[in-house]
């Protein structure tokens, strides 16, 4: 579909949200690939990827609003993802602790033997 008929401010806002969303999604995936152990890897997707998908969904919302249909459908997915991302991250961290996945973090000074 073409977006040329939209006001230039809407076009700029939509393009900025799409750019931020794509960039943060990519940053989350790169972080998950590059970090050293599982507990560090848990950080990248739960924060950066969630923010990136939120940006993409806000861009979709802005496109709907710019065309005059004042709907809130996309906020539903955004809210759902923002609520469920910490829950699934917490469950995965508990699973990793249960399976004794090794960590690369240094031991705390008052506890020399991990």
């Amino acid at each position: 579909m073409d977006f040329a008929h939209l006001h230039w401010a809407w076009q700029g806002l939509i393009a900025a949200l799409l750019g931020v969303g794509g960039l943060f999604t990519l940053v989350g995936a790169v972080g998950m690939l590059r970090f050293k152990d599982f507990y560090m890897r848990l950080h990248a997707p739960t924060k950066a990827t969630t923010l990136g998908v939120g940006g993409v969904l806000l861009a979709s919302l802005a496109i709907n609003w710019a065309q005059g249909s004042w709907v809130l459908h996309e906020l539903l997915i955004t809210l759902f993802l923002f609520v469920t991302a910490p829950v699934s991250a917490n469950l995965l961290a508990k699973a990793a602790l249960h399976l004794r996945v090794p960590s690369k973090a240094p031991a705390p000074p008052d506890q020399p033997f991990p």
Binding site: M1, G12, A15, G22, L26, M32, V53, S60, H98
Partner: protein
């Protein structure tokens, strides 16, 4: 013009993120790594479906994105519980 350009750029970025997650899914040294990669792939696919819906100008893709988000959360919770307890529903 700028919106189409940004849309293509975002599609490219999300597709590359999906490939990187697939690499972690295949390689991940521990089981929770693979589950985390699968969860991230679900979230990325939600973004990809929404972007494709914007590109095609169709409202149908939105429902698919919503279903994928719900299924991704349920799948991650079930897999994490399986790793923790040994079964999903006791």
């Amino acid at each position: 013009m700028i919106v189409e350009w940004a849309l293509n750029l975002a599609l490219l970025a999300v597709g590359a993120a999906l490939l990187l997650c697939a690499w972690r899914l295949l390689r991940g040294p521990e089981l929770p790594d693979r589950v985390l990669a699968l969860d991230t792939m679900y979230v990325n696919i939600v973004a990809l479906v929404v972007l494709l819906g914007l590109r095609q100008g169709s409202k149908l893709f939105f429902e698919a994105a919503m279903l994928i988000a719900l299924l991704g959360f349920v799948a991650t919770v079930a897999l994490a519980r399986y790793l923790t307890r040994g079964d999903v529903i006791e």
